[in-house]
């Protein structure tokens, strides 16, 4: 059936719809590949991923958190950027990499899941969502050769299994499930070190939040690309709980309380 303004299409994926009919709107920027010679001459690239985002499983689900700093070389580009996004009622995603394409991919992924839900009349499974995100990361591969990396960390509450799940990715779209916790970005390693020392199974919500913020604090301590809590401006990391009840934002008051305790404890060690 031909419909004016509404191109003929037969697929439940919004991403595939864009790729086919509006390729210029996809983050992969299809058809805008650089020449091969040009790509090669770049050589091994230092990929800017100035960020720390992390996820930790606990009793009721997963806590996902990220710092707020965006950098341009040695300059701070933004102090309040959001790197953790609510994707739908049961999942959230945090990103590391080039800010523009990252935010675009989060927005596209939100639309993708909502689109599928409306067309099919049901929500994708947690596994299905994670796989779809993998395909989107894979489609972004051409941009990686131009230095525009998008690296997501995806967490979802699996309604069927009744547990929170964490997925990490590589630039080729490879998808790997983490059993306990994970962190990515330039400060990811520092955050993982902290989490490795303090993580245990079945943390309470408060403990999981405290560990997430401690890990971010330690990452900011060692990594220039990661921002710590800004007590003067009142800017704190973003954190969300992903549970059977949905996605809940952690308020600034709660974050401030955790940081105040942490900072008081650290200060007492210095005197």
């Amino acid at each position: 059936m031909k419909l004016p303004y509404l191109p003929d299409h037969d697929d439940s994926s919004f991403f595939d719809f864009l790729t086919k009919h509006y390729p210029g709107l996809t983050p992969g920027g299809h058809g805008q590949l650089p020449a091969v010679e040009q790509t090669r001459s770049v050589g091994p690239m230092a990929v800017p991923q100035a960020t720390t985002v992390l996820a930790i499983k606990y009793q009721a689900g997963v806590v996902i958190a990220g710092d707020r700093r965006a950098t341009e070389g040695f300059q701070i580009a933004d102090r309040r950027i959001e790197k953790v996004f609510k994707i739908d009622e049961w999942s959230a995603m945090a990103i590391a990499g080039a800010a523009g394409p990252c935010i675009e991919m989060a927005k596209l992924f939100q639309t993708e899941l909502e689109h599928y839900e409306k067309l099919e009349g049901m929500v994708l499974s947690c596994e299905g969502k994670a796989n779809k995100l993998g395909q989107m990361v894979k489609a972004n591969l051409p941009m990686v050769f131009q230095g525009l990396v998008v690296m997501p960390l995806y967490v979802g509450y699996d309604v069927k299994r009744e547990e929170g799940r964490i997925f990490k990715y590589d630039i080729t779209g490879g998808r790997y499930e983490e059993s306990d916790y994970h962190a990515i970005g330039s400060g990811g390693k520092d955050a993982r070190n902290t989490m490795r020392e303090h993580f245990r199974k079945n943390l309470s919500e408060a403990e999981a939040l405290k560990l997430a913020l401690l890990s971010l604090y330690n990452a900011a301590d060692d990594d220039v690309g990661t921002g710590g809590p800004d007590l003067i401006r009142g800017i704190y990391p973003t954190a969300k709980f992903v549970t059977a009840q949905g996605i809940a934002d952690v308020g600034d008051d709660q974050l401030k309380a955790v940081y105040d305790d942490m900072i008081t404890a650290r200060r007492s060690r210095e005197t």
Partner: protein
């Protein structure tokens, strides 16, 4: 050489319209009615999984009567159009009016150019926010578009239902339970049978909700509202 038959354009259009009308009248009716918090959509639909009413966007819903495969295609095209527009521009730029226009164009083109017209009648409704009025558009098989007030009926014996509601409908938007009872009564009277909650498909665009306003009412919800 075979002589082509001559059929006058008037005759052809009339035949097509008759054909489409017959197809649409075979089905059951769907009512969209304003209530205090938004718009209520009630369909006489025995199937629990093949929906006649569905969500298009934040505050826009769709209802289709007639041939399932045809209005299902229109529904999907509408969702794609809305999601694309919301992605390209902003969520608030997706409007029921532009969607209704698109549908009207599509149905009109098919009606005049294709052999077989689409045997569908559709509703595009938008719950108004921030003191904006609700919008109810009824679009017919030939692309004609009607901006309805307070309520609209499509499919089945729609004119009979419309006449019934016209007498009973209150001057200002009723409460949800009042509106639903009114709709079910009207459907029962024209169908000449008692309708069970299992045989109804009920959804609302509730402007008091945050984000997406569309919500389906479960059989339990409907039973509770009808018995209250």
């Amino acid at each position: 050489m075979a002589m082509p038959y001559y059929v006058s354009p008037e005759q052809m259009m009339q035949d097509k319209a008759e054909y489409a009308r017959k197809g649409i009248a075979k089905g059951r009716s769907i009512i969209a009615m304003e209530y205090v918090d938004g718009i209520l959509l009630t369909a006489d639909n025995p199937s629990a999984s093949l929906h006649k009413v569905s969500e298009i966007y934040d505050n826009i819903a769709f209802a289709g009567a007639g041939k399932y495969s045809e209005f299902e295609n229109l529904r999907k095209a509408g969702i794609r159009h809305a999601d694309l527009k919301g992605f390209m521009y902003s969520r608030e730029d997706v409007t029921g009016r532009s969607l209704a226009n698109g549908y009207s164009q599509s149905l009109g083109t098919v009606f005049s150019q294709e052999m077989k017209p689409l045997e569908v009648e559709i509703l595009v409704v938008q719950a108004g926010a921030n003191n904006h009025p609700n919008e109810i558009y009824r679009i017919s098989f030939d692309g004609s578009i009607i901006d309805e007030e307070h309520f609209a009926v499509i499919g089945g014996r729609s004119e009979a239902v419309q006449a019934l509601l016209k007498d009973k409908s209150p001057s200002h938007a009723p409460l949800l339970n009042v509106a639903l009872k009114l709709c079910v009564e009207a459907l029962e009277q024209t169908a000449n049978q008692k309708l069970q909650p299992e045989g109804l498909e009920v959804a609302v665009l509730d402007r008091t909700r945050t984000g997406r306003k569309f919500r389906r009412l479960s059989v339990g919800d409907v039973r509770q509202i009808l018995s209250s």
